[in-house]
């Protein structure tokens, strides 16, 4: 038995040792503030700018189009509120999808409660936004559309090129949250019709506490915090220098072999999907093949509850997450699973397994075997006897 099978990489990832090594001097002797004029400050400023170059290169964009934030949530807040406020004279209609991460949907709802007209686009049973829906719902007063690149729960990869093209034709700013896809799926921002892209470090083997926002040249958003002039006057506050260094180091290391790692993760992902679907009364949530994020698996097991599955797997050294209401803070089932049409009792039995470049075939096979046993144990004691058996 492997010591632990960490399959919660859509939540967070293990930091690479090289990343920690690159960060350490900036916690120690290289403690300068990039805003200072002396040599110690200059050293920090140069390091931050070199980091910006590294990440910009991986995205195919200019370094001055990238600003650092504390996380992807902050990048989403800055992008959406900053863009809406900047364009409020032009119109107040904004759109997003029903399967966004809470750091997008809750920000959009906040805007909707504060003077903007929010429209939430539906998705199909695999979680896809139909670009035609975007086209028919854009109005003369539409100013902003935000659609996630790859969904955090069921791995749906949206056609952001098609959606972005429509937005561009109508001069609507288009934001995408790429926290899950960056350095896993191709993301050639320089050649995509996107205006704002949110990123973070800790989902790609970098440190927690640092993210970034890409802002296309010419797109001028409002800042949310008052303070000094850091980050192009958009994000006041001294930069998290060690975090930024770690973010860039992680991008440098993982962007080298994105294609190769993607193929490897996909193969293991599909091995896991096949193994889990061989368990009776199970069903895959979300799409398959290249339309699904390479490291994401989400399966519903009927007639049993997700938190109990999760806890049993945890005892066996397997770390996963669940769409069940019992595992959520508000006791409500996952909004993403509800949006793709799952009934409450289907969401309750859904488990997400998310891989990394370090996941092994042995871990996958162990997980399949253990999950089969756990599901069987829980079903044998389940009080949920269906009136009519579903497949």
């Amino acid at each position: 038995m492997p010591e632990i099978a960490y399959l919660d990489n859509n939540d967070t990832t293990k930091m690479l040792p090289e990343v920690l090594e690159a960060m350490l001097p900036y916690f120690g002797e290289k403690y300068g503030n990039p805003a200072s004029l002396h040599d110690l400050g200059l050293e920090a400023e140069n390091a931050v700018n070199a980091s910006r170059e590294t990440i910009a290169k991986a995205l195919g964009v200019r370094a001055d189009e990238l600003i650092f934030t504390s996380c992807a949530t902050e990048a989403n807040n800055l992008a959406l509120i900053g863009a809406a406020r900047a364009r409020s004279k032009r119109g107040n209609h904004i759109m997003t999808s029903s399967i966004e991460h809470s750091s997008v949907i809750n920000v959009m709802k906040y805007l909707g409660d504060n003077g903007f007209q929010l429209e939430i686009l539906p998705v199909d049973h695999e979680g896809f936004v139909n670009p035609d829906d975007v086209k028919t719902r854009i109005r003369p007063d539409t100013i902003l559309v935000s659609i996630v690149h790859a969904n955090h729960e069921i791995g749906t990869i949206q056609d952001i090129k098609a959606i972005g093209d429509i937005c561009r034709q109508r001069d609507v700013w288009f934001h995408t949250d790429a926290a899950q896809s960056f350095c896993k799926e191709p993301l050639d921002v320089g050649n995509l019709p996107v205006d704002l892209v949110s990123l973070n470090a800790h989902k790609l083997h970098g440190p927690k506490g640092v993210g970034a926002l890409y802002i296309r040249k010419g797109v001028r958003i409002k800042r949310l915090m008052e303070g000094a002039f850091q980050e192009k006057n958009l994000r006041p506050g001294t930069e998290n220098v060690p975090g930024v260094i770690g973010f860039a180091k992680a991008v440098e290391l993982v962007s080298r072999d994105v294609q190769e790692q993607r193929s490897k993760m996909r193969a293991l992902r599909d091995r896991l999907i096949d193994g889990l679907l061989a368990i009776p009364k199970s069903k895959l949530n979300g799409p398959t093949a290249d339309r699904r994020l390479c490291n994401n698996v989400d399966v519903l097991f009927r007639y049993i509850e997700g938190e109990a599955i999760l806890m049993h797997l945890n005892i066996r050294g397997i770390a996963v997450s669940s769409g069940s209401a019992c595992s959520s803070k508000t006791l409500e089932p996952s909004p993403v699973l509800t949006a793709i049409g799952l009934k409450h009792e289907e969401s309750h039995g859904s488990i997400r397994f998310s891989l990394s470049r370090f996941t092994t075939e042995r871990e996958i096979d162990y997980t399949i075997e253990q999950t089969g046993q756990v599901v069987e144990t829980l079903r044998a004691m389940s009080a949920f006897v269906p009136e009519r058996d579903e497949t």
Binding site: I304, E305, M311
Partner: protein, 225 residues
């Protein structure tokens, strides 16, 4: 969110006691529903002379604490009389487990209500009590809502959140206050109330309103009377 379960909860979750169904049960009752993700079925053998619960089994659909509370409930019930169980308090289950997170308190209520429902069914079958006709009144509604728990505090909503109950020809109007509870829990509380009242006869409509927020919900029922 990491769940802070006690060792005792984890023990009963890992090795639940008295799992299954009794072949020739004297009483069976199920509490909860699949939509809520919480369901327990108890089956009991009861001595008609002594009223002692001779054997008991449970089945569970739910989270780790649902399984653990059902398991401990069977352990506490075996060998006791139905009179003892009728005076059982959810707190006894919680204490026996060394505590439960506030958000999981409803599991203990579900377990106790399941046991009491099974016993009630047995008493009716034995002719010891009559199937009472529950009248729809603010008092009976408050009683029915005693099992709805505020997930943030772990306390029943009737004591703290429920401000007004009105009944008019099967239509139930409830007014609640969040009283410092996070607004994010409002939907869950409304769903739990609707589910609880949906079990009552004569209910045609339930309308729930929170004083502080825009959240309100109307659910139509067509319960027989």
């Amino acid at each position: 969110m990491a769940l802070q379960y006690t060792q005792k909860v984890l023990e009963h979750f890992k090795n639940p006691q008295n799992v299954g169904e009794l072949d020739q049960a004297d009483a069976i009752a199920t509490e909860g529903s699949p939509a809520c993700g919480d369901m327990i079925t108890f089956s009991l053998k009861i001595d008609p002379e002594t009223h002692v619960i001779e054997d008991i089994r449970f089945k569970s659909y739910g989270c780790a604490s649902n399984i653990a509370t059902a398991s401990i409930a069977t352990v506490l019930s075996k060998g006791r009389t139905i009179e003892q169980i009728k005076s059982m308090n959810p707190k006894q289950i919680v204490d026996e487990l060394g505590g439960l997170p506030a958000i999981k308190m409803h599991c203990a209520i579900l377990a106790v209500n399941g046991l009491k429902a099974a016993i009630h069914e047995w008493e009716i079958k034995q002719g010891l009590v009559e199937q009472e006709k529950v009248e729809l009144s603010p008092k009976t509604i408050r009683h029915q809502l005693e099992k709805v728990i505020n997930p943030q505090t772990g306390a029943p909503i009737v004591n703290t959140m429920l401000k007004d109950v009105q009944v008019d020809d099967g239509k139930v109007y409830l007014e609640l206050t969040l009283a410092g509870t996070d607004d994010a829990f409002a939907t869950n509380i409304m769903n739990e109330i609707t589910e609880a009242l949906g079990e009552m006869k004569c209910v045609k409509q339930v309308m729930i309103r929170f004083m502080e927020s825009k959240k309100s919900v109307i659910t139509e029922f067509n319960q027989d009377c």
